[in-house]
Structure formats: C-alpha cells, structure tokens
Symmetry: C2
Subunit: 340 residues, 2 copies
C-alpha cells in the first residue's frame, strides 16, 4: 500500500469481514460506548429516567464535507443534539448511519469519526448504535451521515402553542455564519477575498440545559436556527392565529463579514443557516435574566432580545432599519442547498 | 403540469415552504402519528414502560428501489423492526430520514411512503419523527432511507454470551430469497428465464414476540439473517471461544428456485441476504415447541432445526450434503452489493 491512499471499497459495505475491518479501522477507536462495542444490531440501554422522551432524526449531506469550523461529523452530532435540546430534552443516546461512496478516503472517514466522537464527548452523549452502507462510485457524494437521538424531557417543554402575548423573542447569537461559510467554501475559486469566517457549528446543551433548569415553563419555545434561517424558523413558532411576532432588524446580530458576503452575493442573513444558534420565546419577566446567562456562555456571547409577541394575525413582522414594517415570510426555495 | 411527471427538486430540501409542500404531498397522508404531525424537529413520546430499551439504526440503499415482494420503504420498516425484535425488544417508535436525488418522481416517493405506513401498521410501530434532504442529480441514487427504532426489552434478551453447550440452532425459513430477488431484478435483461421468486421482506414482531413471552431466557440469541447471509450471522453468535456450532447443510431450507439461481450464477444461498428470517439459538428442551409455534406463522412455515452447539473452538462448522465437515467462514467480500 506504500504511497497509495486507502479508500473505502464496495465490499466494505457487505456486512462481512471487510465491514468489520472498516468499523475497526475507522470507528471503534473513537466510539468507545459499551453498547456499541458489543456490535449487535441494537443497543440495549437503561430506560431514560423521565416521564417523557424526545426522539429525533436528521440526515447530513453537507457539501463540502470539511469546512472552516467543522465537518460533517461535528455537524451530525451538533445538529441532532441541538434538535433534542431545542425540544427541552437532555440528550442521552445517538445512533449513526453512514452511507459512503466507494473510493472515499479512509483517513477522511477516520477524521470525521474522530470529530463525531469529540463532539459527542463535549455534549455528554453516547453514540450507541451504528450502521455502514457503501454505494458505487457516482451513486453518492463522498459521505452522508444520519444521526437519530434520544433525550429526556425536563422542566422546560418547548411548544409553539405556549407562546403568548407579551412574550419576548431572543436569539442566542449572530445569524448566518454556517450558511455563509459553506457558500464561501464552494465559491473559493471565484471569490478572491480572504475571510476568517467560520461555521458556528456546536452542540448547545451546555448553554441551554441550565437555563431550562432555572426557568422551566417560563421558557415557552426554543428552536435551533438551521435550514431556512431565522425568519423561516420564527414562522414555525406562529401556530396560533391570534398572535404575531414583531422583530426589529437592527437588533438582530449579524457579523460584519457575514453581512459583507451577503451584500456581495445578494443573500439575506436571516434566511441563512446556523448550526450553533437558537431562537427562543420566553416570558417577559425572565428575558433579561436569560440574556445575561446566555452571554456568559461561549456560544451565547452575542445573545440579544430581537422582538416581542403581541395580539395579531399569525405572521412574523420585521421592522426594517429604515423604519418600515413588512411580513417576514418563510423561505420558499433554497438560497444555499446542502448546508447540512 | 399536464402530462409531466412531478419530480423532487433541490428546493424541496431547503427546509422552507417547498419542503413543507413535499411533506404534505408525499408523507403526511400516510404517517398519521400525532407526534409527527406536530412537525417539530423532535418527537415527544411517553417513556417506554420497561427497565431497558433497545435502540437501532439502519440506512437502506437497496437498488432497485422497487423489487418483487417489496420496495425500499417496506424494507426500511421491516429491517429496523426486525433488528429490534432480534434484540428481544417490542418495537415502539421509528424515525425516518430521506435522502432524495433531485428528479426522483414524486409518485414513487409517495408509493414508498405508503409502503412504510402499511408496514408500520402491520408491525404496530409509529413513525414519529422524520427528515428530508435533497441532493443534486448525480449525487445520489434515487432514494436512500435511514430508519432508527426504539423498542422495549421484555422477557427474552438476545445475547451471544448466553449460548451454551447443548443448545439448538434454528432458522425460521428458507434462505436467500431477498438476495436472489434483488440480483434477478438487476439482471433481468441478461437472464431470460421466468421466475416467481420474491423477497421475503417482512416485519417479524408478530411471529417472535409471543415466543419471547412464552419462553423467556430459554431463547438465548436471535438474529435477523440479512447482509452477509446465514453463515456470516451464525459466526456473530460465536463470541465464546470454548464452544462451536455445527449445522447440517441438508436441513437448511432453501427454495428450489433460489437454489437454481444460485447454481446458475455461482452463488451460495447461505451467504445471501434475507429480510424476513431469523436464526435463533434456544435451549434443547424448548426447540420442538419453538419449531411448532414458528410453523404456525405465515413467515415461519419452513422453520427448521439446523444444528447444535457443542464444546469446541469458536467456529461454525457445516456438515455438507456429501458428509464432509468444513468451517463456515463469515462473508469476506460482497456477492450482491446494495441488497438493503
């Protein structure tokens, strides 16, 4: 094998000895879960100690697989952890399904597995069960990962129906960094400017779980702001037709470099994805306390109150910097495909 | 749109209004779960009523997507249900992640969703959370599905370590039907003969859960015989180095047509996949009872005792029809890629 790059072959997906070798080569040294090491088809786990559990799934098809600030592995753990946390749950168990295109370099697979393992450790979750499939060259795109996650619901239950008049809208940080980073990674050949912009991809359990513990049901609704961006996500909070949300454009944090990129490319940062940010609606009496606590956390330094909920018609409205008021519609088509 | 086939577009994966339309168009009428209908990123579920839960994941990349006896949708529910059941668990909740290639026909997606829904109903499981991604034309292969599943462990816990000397090896039916069907579907143009062979793809909860209820820990170990085929799977049961399994080739059920296809193509049915069959190791005193009960079930009509466990060296041995004894090694490479 001297000088040759070791790559994934079709036989690595056959379920036999080659599959075992692939798992040992690329995965087992990173995923040390007792349940996973038994290599059965199911993990047997202690029953979560809570009256309700949260269960979520996401497939990750991000392109490119490696990008400034992360890779598909870090993203696949962060994204699923954040879906659970946004539901009010403490994440416990993660499953991982790999669909690998024949010819994918083994060292890249290992690098991805390593990131998954590190991110899982940060988020106090265990990857307990996994599956590997290999498809022919040209029938995939390097690597797709699905993660599903189980968590336990605690004091906060995030429900759009519990949003009410007088509640306050918060974001945990600057908008659009992940989407802008992915876009730039793809256009690096066309665009000549240097930038330090990175994906915000990160698990948010450490920032949010203590808030839930403290504020319980005063936190009405939480969503991680991913595909579709802030304005699409806020619309998902508007399930009641007799209230509306009004957010003020000037208060929504956007990093200067992200704004420049958006200006150049004609994009709106409020429709770009993030992978380490949440939008929340909380009762007005805790809003300042929530902001203070968020800002103490590395992923919440730029947290801001961006709007409020009032009687209305079910829409999300945005007060523009020039003083106008317009409806912030959800995203229709895709400004940046395959960002997660 | 008159006369045009409606297809999935890249924007259907953007997480915005088009994604919502896709979900409403192809999925919601089939997946009626209350949790799923809330369209949050996580499903909130009652805590399973058991001291242990089972958690499993599998990605399905079968090609072709539609085959005699099923399609990728039926397979994706059956396979994950069977992984849970083989672990000794009663399946409860399923997640579904779709990776769709741009241009995939909407009516085929709907057909797949319909099969998933019907199979889930048969298996008494609920699809409670889902995700949809779209990749560009040429970056996927029509449709990949990941399902993860949660079940509750009951009286039987399937563990290779509990297999002991004197135990009996059973298969629930004929070997190789799924693998042979997929192979034939691909070679239909080259091979001119007519065949009625179909995939055995089916959920096995109805056949196995009553057995567990009756026999508890007398059932030592159960595995669904998928990728890798019977001989690969049996090797996974040999985790103790001081026992061995001896199976008799002549007692292993194989349908005549599957055998003919294997003869023509130079394949071994004991390395071909099934998607509705299990191998089990049970205590000798219940073996006849298990066979009797399996045979009463539509998916166990051809159940047979195929061997026994004795003191030995950790291998699986096969007594050939000609009277020889050889080691049945696990599969190395893949005779039929992408069968599941």
């Amino acid at each position: 094998m001297t000088g040759q790059t070791e790559v994934v072959k079709l036989g690595h997906g056959a379920g036999g000895t080659l599959t075992k070798q692939l798992i040992e080569r690329a995965f087992l040294k990173y995923f040390r879960s007792k349940a996973l090491l038994e290599l059965g088809d199911s993990a047997i786990l202690s029953r979560p100690n809570s009256s309700e559990i949260a269960f979520t799934t996401d497939s990750y098809v991000v392109s490119p697989i490696f990008f400034p600030g992360g890779n598909i592995g870090k993203l696949s753990i962060s994204g699923t952890v954040n879906d659970l946390v946004a539901a009010g749950a403490k994440p416990l168990y993660i499953s991982a399904g790999f669909i690998i295109e024949e010819g994918f370099p083994m060292d890249q697979l290992e690098e991805v597995a390593k990131s998954m393992s590190e991110t899982a450790k940060t988020a106090n979750v265990e990857v307990v069960t996994a599956d590997t499939k290999v498809v022919e060259h040209g029938k995939g795109d390097g690597l797709f990962i699905n993660t599903a996650g189980i968590g336990v619901i605690g004091r906060t239950v995030s429900r759009a129906a519990s949003i009410g008049v007088g509640d306050v809208v918060i974001v945990s940080g600057a908008m659009g960094n992940h989407g802008a980073t992915i876009l730039l990674s793809r256009k690096r050949d066309e665009l000549s400017f240097e930038t330090k912009i990175e994906s915000d991809c990160a698990p948010l359990d450490g920032m949010l779980l203590p808030l839930y513990e403290e504020y319980g049901r005063e936190i009405r609704w939480v969503r991680d702001v991913t595909r579709g961006g802030l304005f699409t996500i806020l619309n998902e909070g508007m399930t009641r037709r007799n209230i509306e949300m009004v957010v003020s454009e000037s208060t929504i944090p956007v990093d200067r470099e992200v704004q420049s990129i958006c200006d150049i490319l004609g994009l709106d940062p409020f429709y770009l994805a993030n992978e380490g940010k949440v939008a929340m609606v909380v009762s007005s009496k805790i809003a300042e306390g929530v902001i203070k606590r968020l800002r103490k956390h590395e992923h919440g330094r730029d947290a801001a109150i961006i709007g409020k909920v009032r009687k209305g018609d079910g829409h999300v409205y945005v007060e523009t910097v020039t003083g106008g008021l317009r409806i912030a519609e959800p995203l229709l088509d895709d400004p940046v495909p395959r960002i997660c």
